[in-house]
């Protein structure tokens, strides 16, 4: 094998310039692959990071995924039972035995849980009405599952506790209502309860839906406002290991029965977009590498053509067809390997260059630069891709070389 590699290196060294060109082709393919993947993955990772950062990882809701099975159907599983006009049992909606479930969830290692009650309300200030979603929280527990504290412009979550009927709203909502910190607004719930509330804090998350139609109050206050004493309708969970969210959500759902959604399920539409994005990216960079592979095909073909005499002599010396095929395959792999190494270096330089770029306008997420993923696995994938395409490109000329008949060559030359 060492002999084959030595022979391959010797043959390529004679075509230095051409080898360099095809190596450069592979290198550019690898470099673009690395740079583009880095941009895309960087953005996706940033986005997911934001989602993981801001949103709870698991949400347990006071509803079931499927309607409950009727008793008649349970009793006669094989019977043709059809129950029409079923109305939901008129019970107080909410997560039952929330306190016990909360204790069980808190016992999971690395998990923090917070109970909340969400409901609609109308905020009234002077002649202005804005309908919002009010979330009743326990500030200490809520701070552990959602990172709202960092988005606070004025006040803190704890101010809810120190002020009677305190309310925290988004800055856009405050603008629409025309209220400022310290003002008192009237909140009216669909159940007809109305409460005077004092603005104790303003936040800005950058997410329009939250900033213009969300409000936070104490859990107790919202239970009064919604006329649902002691009711909790969602439990939010935050995990130390976000990758466990989906299996854990399934586990919780099967144990408690309540519909439980992981952050992946809640953001499925965007994650699907990422999948399509990745498919496009891989096909574009794959095309670049394909073009590079033609360069390798070209040089190996040239070398085979030029080296027919050497192939004949090697065969007459007792090299088998397999040896000859391997010899040219190795040349393709050498070109692929050099291209991969060079491509990784160029890719690294491109990433450093992109990292210096600044956009003149801020993106909605508040960034003025590319968010770049720096992951050795991107380099590994690009290199492997280059090596495989180089090997594939070399196979055809290598097979042709292996089939050459030494007698015809020697006779032609003699």
């Amino acid at each position: 094998m060492r002999l084959i590699i030595d022979l391959a290196r010797g043959m390529l060294s004679r075509r230095r310039r051409q080898t360099l060109v095809s190596v450069l082709g592979v290198a550019l393919g690898v470099a673009f692959f690395i740079a583009i993947t880095s941009i895309m993955r960087g953005f996706q990772t940033y986005f997911i990071q934001q989602v993981i950062d801001v949103q709870p990882h698991i949400v347990i809701k006071d509803e079931t995924r499927n309607p409950t099975v009727q008793a008649a159907q349970l009793a006669l599983p094989d019977g043709a039972v059809s129950v029409n006009g079923v109305k939901p049992i008129d019970r107080v909606r909410g997560i039952r035995a929330a306190g016990e479930k909360l204790a069980m969830l808190e016992a999971i290692p690395g998990a923090a849980a917070a109970p909340i009650l969400t409901g609609a309300a109308l905020l009234r200030y002077g002649s202005r009405d804005v309908s919002i979603t009010v979330t009743g929280i326990d500030p200490a527990r809520y701070a552990r599952v959602a990172n709202i504290e960092k988005d606070m412009l004025h006040g803190r979550l704890d101010d809810l506790r120190s002020t009677a009927n305190g309310l925290i709203i988004g800055d856009t909502l405050a603008l629409r209502l025309g209220v400022q910190l310290g003002d008192t607004v009237v909140a009216v719930s669909p159940r007809g309860v109305s409460l005077q509330m004092k603005i104790v804090g303003l936040f800005h998350t950058g997410l329009a839906t939250l900033d213009q139609s969300a409000g936070y109050v104490l859990l107790k206050v919202n239970q009064v406002l919604q006329d649902r004493p002691n009711v909790v309708n969602q439990i939010l969970l935050r995990l130390a290991d976000v990758t466990q969210a989906e299996p854990l959500a399934r586990d919780i759902e099967s144990r408690f029965g309540e519909r439980t959604e992981s952050w992946e399920e809640q953001n499925r539409n965007i994650l699907t977009v990422f999948v399509i994005q990745n498919a496009i990216m891989y096909s574009v960079t794959g095309a670049i590498l394909l073009v590079a592979a033609f360069g390798i095909y070209n040089i190996i073909s040239t070398v085979v053509f030029e080296k027919t005499r050497d192939i004949a002599i090697l065969k007459s010396l007792g090299f088998t067809e397999g040896d000859i095929q391997l010899l040219f395959l190795v040349q393709g792999l050498i070109a692929g390997f050099l291209g991969a190494v060079l491509g990784c270096l160029i890719g690294q330089v491109m990433i450093e260059g992109l990292a210096q770029l600044r956009f003149s306008s801020e993106t909605p997420a508040g960034n003025d630069r590319f968010l770049l993923a720096r992951d050795w696995r991107i380099y590994a994938i690009a290199s492997a891709f280059a090596m495989v395409s180089a090997a594939l490109a070399a196979v055809i000329p290598a097979r042709r070389a292996a089939r050459l008949d030494p007698v015809q060559i020697v006779r032609g030359a003699a």
Binding site: L7, G10, S316, L317, G318, E321, P406, V407, A413, A414
Partner: protein
Amino acid sequence: MTALLTAHGMARTLPEGVTLVTDIDLVIQGGEFVAITGPSGSGKSSLLYLLGLLDRPSAGRILFEGQDTAALSASDLAALRLARLGFVFQFHFLLPEFTALDNVLIPIRRRGALKPTAAEARARMLLDALGLGAAAEKLPEQLSGGMRQRVAVARALANDPVLVLADEPTGNLDTRNAAAVFDIFARLAAEEGRAVLVVTHDAELAKRATRRVHLVDGRIISDEKT
């Protein structure tokens, strides 16, 4: 004693219908120095490639050390060439990127029977024996035609073959170098007991061989020993 190489009623016809050689019956023993002579196009080289197991006959049989070569696969034949045969061509056919020493080392390394140090020692010994000790580290382009051809001979001897085949090995050499190469062949046959088959059109050089096979139009018309 089994003959080293036996050809029985051997013929080689190209697919286009051209007959290269026909009705070849030949027995070659170890230690023989055979010159194959004949005019251009008489099938000398074709016969050599057949006897050197590079080509397969269209009819008849070739027995190498008593074994019918028709039964051997392409890679079996390659293994046989590697271990038992040595080729020298009209043009030296050294690999231009490698030194004289490396060129001689290629078949030895391919066979893999010797450790690297032993392989290099053997290659240097062969080069020394052919008066090329000083040229071992030189590239083929730095050597004269005669030296290159002697490197090619050293390469042919790399794996200690029982049969050395040479196709017009002196075609590109001046008289003095040609004579030197023939002296080497004579020594290989007489002193080392190898069979040597040389294709040549030079009647003077052919006289140095112990046996002359004359070919006309693909047929053996005379086979004389001295």
